[in-house]
């Protein structure tokens, strides 16, 4: 347990105001719970912002991927400010331009089509995790 294990910290926005924030949150949870459970750790953004020591130290010592719902990029800005440049950044609104997206559902409850979009974003995050780990020195 003392040798540094290869883990990637995922910092997601939870943007309450818009559906892309919910997509960001759900996609991140899918990566943590299903797609890359052994390789990833979640960093709780509100705790990170409020000064959470463990969150900030982890983000400083391990590579991170930020997942933002929109181009305000709160997760990326916070990570850079408090810990260091993330290894990779994903912005959901940008990522969606690559898919043929249906009309997205409400921010509160994702319908099947929007959930399918969240799964694609999760796949994208998982690819980035693999890429970061491949280049781990």
């Amino acid at each position: 347990m003392e040798a540094q294990e290869k883990k990637v910290g995922i910092i997601s926005c939870s943007g309450e105001e818009r559906v892309e924030g919910t997509i960001s949150r759900v996609a991140t949870r899918l990566v943590l719970g299903k797609l890359r459970p052994n390789e990833t750790v979640t960093i709780c953004l509100p705790l990170f912002l409020a000064g959470g020591r463990e969150e900030r130290e982890f983000a400083r010592d391990y590579p991170t991927i930020t997942v933002d719902g929109c181009d305000k990029m709160c997760a990326k800005i916070a990570t850079e400010r408090y810990s260091g440049k993330p290894a990779s950044t994903i912005v959901v609104t940008d990522t969606l331009k690559n898919y043929q997206c249906p009309k997205l559902s409400s921010r509160r409850k994702l319908n099947d089509e929007t959930l399918a979009v969240a799964r694609k974003v999760a796949d994208r995050i998982a690819e980035e995790v693999d890429e970061v780990l491949k280049h781990w020195v």
Binding site: V41, E54, E55
Partner: protein, 152 residues
Amino acid sequence: MSEYLTTTFDKFELRVRKGFYYTKDDLWVSIENGKVKVGVSDYLQKTSGDVAFVEVAKPGSTVEKDKEFGTMESAKTTVELLSPLSGRLDEANTKLSGSPELVNSDPYGEGWLVIIAPHNIEFDRASLLSADEYFKLMLEKLQSEHDKLESR
């Protein structure tokens, strides 16, 4: 020199307070002026989640080694608290009824659970773990959880 033995698991730092004794069920024991203070280890509070209720036997009750003297409840789980020794429960930490989160935020300090007047501390102490021994046990538990995740 730190007063803790520490290790890191994912992003969490887990601490074992030096100078205390421990049980295999993750309680700590501190002997002060012939009485024994009991609490939960950092490992147990972390794995239990946010504590919402702590309920223990009334002051004046007799407690028996390895028998339940109370429960600790979070939304995630309910933990049976097994007494590390036999004796009389003299005091319960009354702060925990209004602020159970003290168990999470300060498990070795303000989050203590009970104080017991032991019947035979020398006899009961023999079966407790030292801080180093408990630290090793905690690492084994963490490794076992890690292996479980890997095999999923």
